[in-house]
Symmetry: C2
Subunit: 136 residues, 2 copies
DNA sequence: AAATTAACTTGCAATATGCAAGTGATTATT
DNA sequence: AATAATCACTTGCATATTGCAAGTTAATTT
């Protein structure tokens, strides 16, 4: 339902219409960087998303084809969420957000280590990370 | 007040805590690309932000030092809003959002023209655009 | 067979958003 | 000099969204 509204044809506005809230990009982050891929995984993240908000965001992300739902290989009770190409293409945005945050916040060591690699050769990092994301 | 809350120390989360809503980046966009710099300018934008929301967002952006309020040279009745360095540093994020949107939406011609320049040499574009932003 | 896990849904209170109208300080017009 | 218009907000209120706790249903483990 959320997917129909469009406030203008500005690229920033169109993008925010889909994932411009406090939670959507955290789900994307979990899928992209944390190898999380189930509803339960997302619930466990540090920011403590509410169950109904998570369900609603997953639905919007799916409706907008940033993620897709698949059968989980381990169990019929589980659902496996996966980034689509459109979702994977958010990687450069996520990286730039990380780099901005690195400049203005004090970040955890593991993330700082990753950003060190990014700063060495951004294009290379993105390319190889995309490759990884497409594997799984 | 919004500026104190921090859901976690993740860079994406910290960033969204500040500007992760449907409106903040549209104000940044207006300052960054549209040469808009007054309350009235922002109100005129296509997305039609409500006056109270605009006031509240401007306050949060100012509290978080992404923008600053200055005396308008033309009139005491006006306020001139300006991006700080921290705000200017959002440019790479904005560009990547534009590029993502360019891939998945049909954008206005003037923006497509700008993105053509971006695609030729991204680093060069960003550098020269930052230079422009610092002038004014 | 009973308990646990997984992925949600529901109800409701608290918060945020959106709209229309109003305010007070300049500034422009008559 | 008085009046009208502009500018940057604020206020009140209806509606929508969020957050919390508890409940549901199907699948899996014990």
């Amino acid at each position: 339902m959320d997917s129909i509204k469009k406030r203008s044809d500005c690229p920033i506005s169109c993008s925010l219409d889909i994932w411009g809230d406090k939670w959507s990009l955290l789900i994307i982050r979990d899928l992209m960087f944390k190898k999380k891929c189930t509803y339960g995984d997302f619930l466990k993240s540090a920011e403590k998303i509410a169950t109904n908000i998570l369900a609603s965001r997953l639905q919007t992300l799916e409706e907008n084809k940033l993620i897709e739902k698949l059968d989980h290989p381990d169990s019929k009770a589980k659902v496996l969420y996966k980034l689509t190409q459109k979702g994977i293409d958010l990687l450069p945005i996520m990286i730039e957000i990380d780099l901005w945050a690195d400049k203005y916040f004090s970040l955890p060591e593991d993330i700082k280590a990753m950003l060190k690699e990014v700063k060495k050769d951004k294009a290379k990092f993105i390319k190889s990370w995309i490759k990884e994301l497409k594997k799984a």
